[in-house]
């Protein structure tokens, strides 16, 4: 297996948010989730697809997700869904994310304006 690059440090915590968002829409299994993630992000998020599973297990352990083995498309899959607790976590994280991104946007915007002007 080849080496794949990882996401930058500032994306810490973002995969959790995105996964909760997508699973809140409908329960999915790992492969389906990765596909949905790629489509939703317009192929912008690049990561080793296998890395989704430790993340799913972590969220499951935390109680934000629940899993169930089900037969989908003739094959047995582990399907994940968001729990009520996961719903609350998602809302809180999304709120925080919006606050941070708007703050960073305004800083970057301010940075553009604050360029030294030549007379």
């Amino acid at each position: 297996m080849n080496k794949r690059r990882t996401n930058p440090d500032y994306l810490n915590g973002v995969p959790e948010l995105v996964v909760l968002k997508l699973l809140a829409e409908r329960p999915m299994y790992g492969y389906e989730l990765v596909k949905a993630l790629r489509e939703a992000s317009d192929q912008s998020l690049d990561f080793g697809e296998g890395c989704i599973y430790p993340l799913l297990h972590k969220l499951e352990k935390r109680g934000d997700l629940a899993s169930r083995r089900m037969v989908v498309g003739g094959r047995s899959r582990v399907v994940y869904r968001v729990t009520p607790s996961g719903g609350h976590t998602f809302k809180a994280s999304a709120k925080q994310w919006n606050r941070i991104t708007s703050a960073i946007s305004s800083i970057l915007q301010g940075g553009e304006d604050a360029k030294p002007r030549t007379v």
């Binding site: 794949r4 790992g30 697809e49 430790p54 582990v78």
Partner: protein
């Protein structure tokens, strides 16, 4: 489980790093399912089976990185796993001190009960034996028990034998060094029982009598107690991992 070489490698790595067998099987089964799904998707797009398998493996990610990620996420599930240095390098010392304090308190409570029951002050030989046993419990047994318990905790929470070993070495160093630092004081430990007033006292008298607590044998037993416990825990864990690998 179908035979997939990269997944066997991941499975081996996860087991060698101490993850529970059922969790390893569950994770590897999911990865195999995912691999099959990607292969199927790529075959539908016109790739040959071999090409599709290669691409699927590539898309899943490097096996070493995956294994590391799975182990790291598993370890970080608990507070101890997230802060291993604090938990298994710093915390052992307060825990041993607490353990010793508890043993001292238990001995004191026993003496107090005995005194309350009207026990007369024991002969010098019995008193010596009691004090020696108390010191042995406090300085040798208590650290060994804490080392056993906390090294097991280290293995359970971090799945790392390094932290388990570090915990035992730290406790052993402390326990063996403890005597030399309190040598002068500790040998003058004395106690008195007063059946009339039903009051017992464990006191540090000026010079009551001395006990061979600073002997090489005592020091060795205090050093070896926690180290032996650590070795037992680690050997047992290694055996479990080997069995899981062979399963």
């Amino acid at each position: 489980m179908p035979s997939h070489e990269p997944f066997e490698s991941i499975r081996e790595q996860l087991i060698c790093r101490g993850l529970p067998l059922d969790y390893v099987e569950h994770s590897v089964a999911e990865l195999i399912d995912h691999h099959s799904d990607i292969t199927q998707e790529l075959c539908c797009k016109g790739l040959t089976l071999e090409e599709a398998k290669g691409r699927a493996t590539e898309r899943l990610g490097d096996s070493r990185t995956l294994a590391t990620r799975i182990v790291r996420d598993y370890q970080r599930r608990t507070w101890c796993g997230r802060w291993p240095l604090v938990s298994f390098a710093l915390a052992p010392l307060p825990l041993v001190i607490l353990g010793q304090a508890l043993v001292a308190f238990a001995i004191y409570a026993c003496l107090f009960v005995l005194a309350s029951c009207g026990l007369e002050e024991p002969s010098r030989a019995v008193a010596d034996a009691i004090i020696k046993a108390s010191l042995f419990l406090m300085l040798t047994i208590a650290p060994a028990i804490v080392a056993f318990w906390w090294s097991r905790m280290a293995l359970k929470k971090t799945r790392s034998r390094v932290y388990a070993a570090a915990t035992c070495i730290i406790i052993a160093t402390y326990a063996s060094g403890f005597i030399s630092s309190v040598e002068g004081e500790c040998i003058s430990l004395g106690y008195s029982l007063d059946p009339v007033s039903a009051i017992s006292q464990i006191e540090v008298s000026q010079v009551v009598r001395s006990f061979p607590t600073s002997s090489q044998l005592c020091r060795l037993s205090q050093l070896m107690g926690p180290l032996t416990m650590g070795a037992i825990t680690i050997l047992f864990d290694t055996r479990l991992r080997r069995r899981a690998l062979l399963a």
